[in-house]
């Protein structure tokens, strides 16, 4: 049963990575505008996208 120590450690580490990813997404402003991207993806984009992000 000592394998549980390892498994719990792994699961917590994994969860922490996801939490960190969420922090990063929030801080880099990915959740600032939740509406426009949904509209943007429906628009035809025949030409190349804007050169800079």
């Amino acid at each position: 049963m000592t394998i549980l120590y390892f498994l719990i450690g792994c699961s917590i580490l994994l969860a922490l990575i996801f939490l960190a990813a969420f922090f990063w997404a929030q801080k880099s402003g990915q959740h600032d505008d939740l509406y426009t991207p949904a509209m943007r993806m429906l628009l035809e984009d025949k030409e190349e996208p804007p050169p800079e992000k």
């Binding site: 719990i8 969860a15 509406y35 426009t36 804007p50 800079e52």
Partner: protein, 796 residues
């Protein structure tokens, strides 16, 4: 579609308005005006005509556009507008009120095809904002704004850009706090299950391991996510008020200390999952309460309405001057559709001023040379020259903002239910906790401590703290559906607490063109000319309307003209005696029971008939009038009292109707009502109501279009929903009732929990079940009850 074809109505390819007979056609497409065609051609030249394929008629009508952006050449103004600049690029954010469909989004993100100096543009659809990065060496800010204007998206430029500021406010990392709390809550729950289901003797070593992990997970929950509650509780203590946050902080602290103590002393499993769940749910409640409207501003004052700069003539040359530098004596030029920024004397040109934003009155007023024109009017017609006689902030209208109502915080707000109950709740809670403590102290100190902490844990008003935000935010979205936009959730409770309603007249209970006139007389051409000539001389609103009705007659010279205030006009023209006025004045007698305003006509002692004016009030004014049984109804109007007879039936007493009120008098009247102990709701629309809206306990701005300018207020009501106001008031009261009921339910849970707690035998499992169950009950009760109430009030 077929129907529109058979009716053969040609609509403008760009804006969708009806094309007049003299429409313009290009490429087999019809346009209503040159402006719309110009936009089409810009897009055509740049191969951007897919704009028209995403939506039909995505453009805005371009008939009126005389905007000049010369002031954007002034470096002092430019530096205030841009977000960032360096050698290569400038970043700027504009608010574009016209953004409304996917076509807008598509076009605005293709700006670099029109001008390669624009590197990047991103639209935020809900905020109606565009963020643009461009090379200022190749394209000036003025050029950029003109480009936006050319394609039909004129930015709303204002130095007091509230929308930008409002959206820039950081949301105190609430989402991150919730993420941490939720993360810990999930893990702690997982780690607590083995304890609840029982661990075999072989697995005892895990108990310690899980315990330590639980403490580890509780740390960020208490010290990061829950920090705000401790700060708030500390402020409560310092200000000697007991708010609901105090028992919450106490509960969190006790939960944490007891958990750590139990795990360290091996005496139990602790309450880590209850603790994490509590903080998680509380923060969600906070998030729900924070709902804001990104595209509506509630904080506007005259600065966001007035232009950024005005053209000043110095040494025969025009130069844009920022409004803040405008001084007395400056000679300014106001062009068609521009707003007069300060009180000024008309020096040159024909002034026809539209005061609709100030007073709500849509009929332009003509002014003569040498007359003082108050700030806030919009010139229609040719350019005029004026001399400023007062600085912007000291003008008739704007000095209102110097009033203390705008600088002081509202003190005697109606206290919310939570504020009222919080104090008693805390006192009772502490009393129970201490009596349990002293009761068990005589027998067993351990049990006494256990009982004391259990009471504080179980009675932690989690459900109570959640009921208010969930109910109010549900109510907010119901109001929102009905086109009534509240500044924040607290306004709902204010709405329930008011007992006096004050209405503005023009623009609020009347709409733009609210009067229709009909002629009940047979007039010959000569008689029409006589009447027109007489009425031309009068500034009375009724005379002006008669003039407009009769159209462009040639004015005749009027001899011995006498206007008797409130009665009529006596005049002699070309040996004719003309008598125009009310019945008593013209006929000498008055019929009873006449409900409309009438203007009677008599020429040379021969009675001709009368003009009848029918006032159209907003639909539902009768319903609002019915509120007078529950509320005091008052009317404040900037106009004269010529509608008194029509309005009197709606209000009970003549002394509750006040006419000829200046903006300052409106404010003072509200203050007077408040001094008499009334909770006043003001409903207005124009800048002249701003003071009253601010002074009142609850100010509602009525507007035809929520994206248009509306004065600073607590709530914005779309004119179409005006008749639902009584339902809104009733529903707000229902909402408060729902909060009270859910408080009752949470009390029942508290009592159940307390019966365990006072004995000192609260098991972690009981707490872990009780807390989420009560929370879920409250949340579902409030959402269902609010919906039911909304259905009952026909708001859903």
């Amino acid at each position: 579609m077929k129907e529109t074809l058979t009716r053969k109505e040609i609509t403008c390819y760009h804006c969708g308005d009806e094309v007049p007979d003299a429409g313009i056609t290009t490429d087999e497409k019809d346009f209503c005006c040159q402006g719309c065609k110009a936009v089409y051609q810009v897009l055509q030249d740049n191969q951007l005509c897919s704009y028209y394929s995403y939506n039909d008629h995505p453009g805005a009508n371009r008939e009126q556009r005389n905007k000049r952006f010369d002031y954007l050449g002034e470096p002092s103004i430019v530096s205030q507008l841009i977000d960032y600049t360096d050698e290569q690029q400038t970043v700027v954010t504009f608010y574009l009120p016209h953004i409304h469909c996917s076509s807008c989004l598509w076009l605005l993100e293709q700006l670099n095809k029109i001008n390669p100096a624009i590197y990047y543009c991103r639209v935020d659809f809900l905020k109606k904002q565009i963020n643009i990065r461009f090379d200022q060496r190749q394209l000036s800010l003025q050029g950029l704004v003109e480009l936006l204007d050319d394609i039909g998206y004129e930015p709303l430029i204002s130095l007091q850009d509230i929308i930008k500021k409002q959206n820039a406010v950081p949301r105190d990392n609430l989402v991150l706090k919730i993420a941490v709390a939720g993360f810990c809550f999930g893990n702690v729950m997982l780690l607590s299950f083995p304890e609840y289901f029982g661990l075999s003797i072989a697995e005892q070593s895990f108990r310690q391991f899980f315990g330590w992990l639980n403490i580890l997970f509780s740390l960020p929950v208490v010290f990061y996510s829950g920090r705000g509650y401790f700060v708030s509780a500390w402020n409560n203590l310092r200000n000697k008020v007991l708010h609901i946050d105090f028992p919450l902080a106490l509960g969190i602290a006790v939960l944490f200390i007891r958990t750590v103590a139990e795990i360290l002393t091996h005496s139990g499993a602790g309450f880590a999952d209850t603790l994490c769940g509590l903080v998680f749910f509380l923060l969600i409640g906070k998030l729900v309460q924070q709902k804001t409207y990104h595209h509506i501003s509630f904080e506007r004052d005259y600065r966001s309405f007035f232009p950024v700069a005005v053209q000043v003539i110095t040494d025969g040359k025009e130069r844009p001057v920022p409004l803040s530098e405008l001084q007395t004596g400056h000679r300014i030029v106001i062009r068609n559709q521009e707003i007069i920024p300060a009180d000024a004397i008309l020096l040159k040109g024909e002034a026809l001023i539209d005061f609709s934003f100030v007073t709500g009155e849509s009929v332009p007023v003509s002014k003569i040379l040498g007359e003082i024109i108050y700030a806030g009017g919009r010139q229609t017609g040719q350019a005029i020259e004026m001399e400023v006689i007062k600085p912007v902030s000291q003008s008739y209208l704007t000095q209102l903002w110097n009033n203390e109502a705008f600088t002081q915080l509202k003190k005697n707000r109606i206290p919310s239910f939570n504020e009222k109950i919080g104090k008693y709740f805390t006192i009772v809670l502490l009393a129970i906790a201490f009596s349990a403590f002293f009761f068990w102290l005589q027998t067993d100190i351990k049990r006494a401590l256990a009982a004391f902490t259990s009471v504080l844990i179980v009675a932690c008003p989690c459900a109570l703290a959640l009921s208010t935000p969930f109910t109010l935010s549900a109510a907010l979205s119901i109001f929102d559906r009905n086109r009534f936009y509240l500044k924040n959730t607290a306004v709902v409770e204010q709405l329930a607490g008011i007992d006096t309603i004050v209405l503005d007249k023009t623009g609020t209970i009347t709409t733009g063109d609210h009067t229709s006139l009909s002629l009940r007389a047979e007039l010959t051409g000569g008689q029409k000319q006589l009447i027109y000539s007489v009425c031309m001389n009068s500034g009375h609103p009724l005379s002006r309307m008669i003039c407009r009705y009769l159209g462009n007659e040639d004015g005749l010279e009027v001899a011995d003209y006498t206007e008797i205030l409130g009665k009529g006009i006596l005049a002699g023209i070309r040996q004719h005696q003309v008598r125009i006025g009310n019945e008593q004045f013209v006929l000498g007698s008055r019929q009873a029971g006449v409900n409309t305003t009438q203007v009677h006509l008599m020429i040379d002692g021969h009675y001709l008939g009368y003009f009848s004016f029918v006032h159209h009030y907003r639909e539902g004014l009768e319903k609002i009038a019915e509120l007078r049984t529950e509320y005091q109804l008052h009317l404040l109007s900037g106009d004269g009292d010529h509608e008194l007879t029509e309005l009197l039936p709606f209000f009970r007493y003549a002394e509750q109707l006040h006419f000829n009120q200046s903006p300052q008098q409106k404010l003072d009247y509200i203050r007077l009502l408040q001094l008499q102990g009334n909770k006043v709701m003001m409903i207005g629309d124009g800048l002249n109501d701003s003071g009253a809206l601010k002074q009142s306990d609850l100010g509602i701005a009525v507007t035809e279009n929520i994206n248009n300018f509306s004065p600073g207020s607590d709530a914005i009501l779309d004119g179409r929903s005006f008749e639902q106001l009584p339902s809104f008031l009733q529903f707000a009261k229902d909402t408060v009732r729902v909060i009270q009921l859910s408080f009752g339910i949470s009390l029942v849970y508290n009592l159940v929990g307390l019966s365990f707690a006072v004995t000192g035998k609260l098991s972690p499992l009981t707490a872990a079940i009780l807390m989420p169950v009560s929370t879920v009950t409250i949340i579902s009760f409030t959402s269902i009850a609010t919906r039911v109430a909304a259905k009952f009030r026909q708001l859903l």
